[in-house]
């Protein structure tokens, strides 16, 4: 009974936060609700006995991504007047499509036969994960590092202001 209640509470927080993210008029509020949704998802990971992923979720999504998003909102806030419409004309179709998709996914989940097994979580999950990362998944691991480097360089290049010469040339 207790896990079910906990699950219900977490789902409520997560989904409520998510809905607030996509419907709130103020983008900044959306961003803070996004943090709330992320916290909910992190709790889901705790419920799934994956504390490492939960902590990483907090570290990356809240500590980095959410703060970056909030920062970006502040940098572009001049155009976000209160009376601006936050959703476009096709929102009703989008809502219908999303609902339909949810229906389809739910139907699939309900009808599928998952090969669930009852097994305990490994004792040293982080050690195991490190070993697998450096053996079975070493190539994706390296590619991920290259991807991060590329993203770092790319975002600096895209985001930096033009230097003085090219600006005066305009």
């Amino acid at each position: 009974m207790v896990p079910v209640l906990v699950f219900a509470a977490i789902s409520l927080v997560t989904l409520g936060g998510a809905i607030a993210v996509v419907t709130n008029k103020n983008v900044l509020h959306s961003a803070y609700f996004l943090v709330l949704a992320f916290v909910g998802v992190a709790s889901v990971y705790v419920l799934l006995e994956a504390p490492f992923i939960a902590v990483i979720q907090v570290l990356i999504y809240i500590g980095a991504i959410a703060i970056l998003i909030i920062f970006a909102i502040m940098l572009t806030r001049r155009l976000m007047s209160k009376d601006m419409e936050e959703r476009n004309q096709q929102w009703i179709w989008a809502a219908l499509g999303a609902l339909l998709l949810f229906g389809v996914l739910g139907w699939l989940v309900y009808n599928a036969n998952w090969p669930v097994i009852e097994a305990a979580v490994p004792k040293e999950p982080i050690t195991l994960m490190g070993e697998e990362l450096l053996s079975t998944y070493v190539v994706p691991f390296e590619i991920a590092s290259v991807l991060l480097l590329a993203a770092l360089v790319g975002s600096i290049l895209i985001g930096r202001e033009k230097d003085q010469e090219s600006r005066s040339a305009e």
Binding site: P3, V4, F7, S11, T14, L15, A18, V21, V22, V27, S30, A31, L34, A37, V41, V44, Y45, L48, A50, I53, Q57, I60, Y61, I65, L68, I69, A72, I73, T76, L79, M80, E85, E86, R87, N88, W91, A95, A98, F102, L105, G106, V109, Y110, W114, P115, V116, A119, P122, M129, E132, Y137, P140, L147, L148, A151, G154, S155, I158, G159, E161
Partner: protein, 103 residues
């Protein structure tokens, strides 16, 4: 373990649909990015749930979740840089107004 797997999957599906709605309906480019983040989170819930319920001995699910984190971080960094660059050039972050290709 009293919660069945399908509950997590339904939760993830709901989160995914909400994120999709956000992507399709927000006018603000940063709002769209937030929708994408929600969708990626939904995928991660699925990955970790499958790991826990179907193959908890190997860490494949968690490792894939880690890779999704990596991709999400890269995506946000580049995406926000693009948004800011567009804002500098065109003074707007409303995606409907960014339709140069049509004109």
């Amino acid at each position: 373990m009293s919660i069945p797997l399908s509950w997590f999957l339904v939760l993830a599906a709901a989160l995914f649909s909400i994120g999709l709605y956000g992507v399709l309906s927000r006018r603000n480019a940063i709002g769209i990015l937030m929708g994408i983040e929600l969708m990626l989170n939904a995928v991660n819930i699925n990955l970790v749930a499958f790991w826990r319920y179907i193959d908890p001995i190997k860490m494949t699910g968690q490792i894939f979740a880690l890779f999704v984190f990596t991709v999400a971080a890269a995506e946000v960094a580049v995406g926000l840089a693009l948004v800011i660059a567009i804002y500098r050039n065109r003074d707007t972050v409303v995606v409907e107004e960014i339709d140069l290709l049509k004109e």
